[in-house]
């Protein structure tokens, strides 16, 4: 019996605590204590005998203290007797802690509508702030470029080459594979549907124009946003968390110049290169499918391709690439620098980076489509 209630000869109550008042028994102890501290439980003054306690830890001490406090709140005296010397220190320690404790925070969910409105308002203002941060980042990168142009020795060439290796060279195999498959899929769909009205030959036009103008650059930009943008955010974010960026700043270095500019420049160089490779791979994929599935000889495919596409289509695709790269780089850097202290925030920012940069890539693509249409390209 961990806690029992008895009567003394003089009429007072005698509470007897015994056994192990420790964490594994805490749930049961709490139930017992709860019973005796309930408002309906009127016992009167008396003593609390602790001589039977074998072991006690903070949990037990805290629950005993609850008993004492409950009696005190009723204005009745409850004297402690028989506490072993080795237990007294802990009981005193627990008893001496600050009272009363702050109330538990009220459970949420009472007012759904105001909460939803608050959430909406916050997310709108967050979006606005994000836009400002992004523009700020583009400005900072621009300023760093101006600084580097004025004083070219300030440019971190080694770092930029290293980043270029990571985002361009190491990305080549996966980009080639994906764009090859995409080219093949487009050609296959084209043959399947165009064959119905005998327009097989126009598959080459479709593959050529679609790949060079739109799909090549889009697929590559999306891949790069997912592959390199996210890694930039995670890197910069964890550097921010560990105060490495603050350390750079206090040593008189500009983090934008040292960390962000080489990364952004590497992306701006990498994306056109990868787009070119991707477009070539997609055309090869289209050609392969045309040969194997559509029964079109590669020489005919190449001849048709020469008629169907012009340098303009190629240019339209490539011109977009550096701008998309800049968008990805700016988003990745801005998100990385807004990481707060927690691991959760790092994950959130990395996700936000990928989502935002892909969104921006598509928006930019749309704007370019309108621009090129209006100048007749």
């Amino acid at each position: 019996m961990l806690l029992s209630l008895g009567r003394r000869d003089d009429g007072g109550v005698e509470l007897v605590a015994a056994g192990a008042w420790t964490a594994p028994n805490a749930a049961e102890l709490e139930r017992l204590v709860q019973g005796m501290t309930a408002d309906s439980f009127a016992a009167g003054a008396g003593t609390l005998n602790l001589s039977g306690i074998e072991r006690i830890d903070t949990y037990g001490a805290l629950l005993l203290d609850r008993l004492l406090l409950a009696w005190k709140a009723r204005g009745q005296n409850l004297g402690v007797v028989g506490a072993a010397g080795r237990h007294q220190g802990l009981l005193r320690e627990v008893h001496g802690l600050t009272r009363p404790r702050p109330p538990e925070p009220a459970p949420r969910g009472a007012d759904q509508i105001p909460l939803a409105l608050e959430h909406l308002g916050r997310s709108v203002s967050d979006k606005g702030r994000n836009l400002v941060t992004l523009i700020n980042m583009v400005g900072a990168l621009g300023l760093a470029i101006v600084g580097v142009l004025r004083q070219p020795t300030k440019f971190r060439l080694t770092s930029a080459v290293h980043q270029l290796d990571r985002v361009a060279w190491q990305a080549v195999p996966i980009i080639l594979l994906i764009t090859f498959l995409i080219g093949g899929i487009i050609a296959q769909q084209g043959f399947f549907h165009f064959r119905k009205f005998g327009a097989d030959e126009y598959v080459v036009d479709m593959v050529g124009i679609l790949v060079l103008r739109e799909i090549g650059v889009l697929i590559v930009a999306i891949m790069v946003a997912g592959r390199s943008g996210s890694s930039y955010t995670a890197e910069l974010g964890s550097m921010k968390m560990r105060e490495e960026i603050d350390a750079l700043r206090t040593m008189g270095f500009d983090p934008v110049e040292i960390l962000l500019l080489p990364r952004a420049i590497a992306l701006v160089l990498a994306l056109p290169l990868l787009t070119f490779l991707g477009a070539m791979a997609a055309l090869s994929g289209g050609g392969t499918v045309a040969w194997l599935y559509g029964g079109m000889d590669p020489s005919i495919f190449i001849a048709r391709l020469r008629e169907a596409i012009s340098l303009t289509h190629f240019e339209v695709g490539l011109i977009k690439a550096p701008f998309m790269a800049l968008a990805i780089g700016a988003v990745a850097c801005a998100e990385g620098l807004t990481v707060q202290g927690s691991a959760e925030s790092l994950g959130f920012r990395t996700t936000a980076c990928v989502v935002k940069s892909i969104f921006l890539v598509i928006v930019l693509d749309g704007l370019f489509a309108m621009f090129f249409a209006s100048i007749g390209m």
Binding site: L63, H87, G89
Partner: protein, 262 residues
Amino acid sequence: MGAPHPASAVRIRDLVVCFGDHIILDQLSLDVRTGEILGFVGGSGSGKSVLLRSVIGLLPKRQGTIEVLGIDRDRADDAALHALERRWGVLFQRGALFSSLTALQNVQFPMRENLCLSARLLRDVALAKLEMVGLDARDADKLPSELSGGMTKRVALARALALDPELVFLDEPTSGLDPIAAGEFDELIRTLQQTLGLTVFMVTHDLESLRSVCDRVAALADGRVIAIGTISDMRRSTHPWMQAYFQGKRSHILATPPITGA
């Protein structure tokens, strides 16, 4: 908790730990007696933290045996290891708080996972632990990134003590605390040790805590325990590193008699 209480809470025999070809701990043997506070000293890079991490099972050992609370990790099954891990608390050097949980939630985490408590008791105990280590209840809802270095350490200690363990490993508990806080910390460890019969294995550089709270001190050099005993035994040692450590410029605080625990 019905496990036997051996005379040694931690028993290490001929422990060898290597990183590649580099031998960090070479045939190290050490006993931490149940109920004592053992201070563990050694130069930077001498392998103090490596020893601590090997004992709690974070680093693999090459040979030797480690028994903690009477259980040999190599022979114990998963359930026994899990039960063992509930019986100790670890304070990491940099706190290692969960960054997405508040201070209070960090302390509640082991309780929530291992015990079945009501929300009220959970909150009460966690707040009590935080207050015991000298934190204000107002700081309980702060995230680790909003806490200062000393506060982080206190929350980490509160978390290490959350389940009222029998054995606590402290990796430099007082580093980064101001002298007053460090003194309170020492006193707290003393109180807890006396009331809970806690065994404390403490890696420390703080001469003041070595003097005031440690029952025994062990010194690590060249991958072995070169001396173990009371602080006055340490001062009599003739080993050059021990001479430098215990008789050096800052060792004058050892000369004053220790404050006996409350």
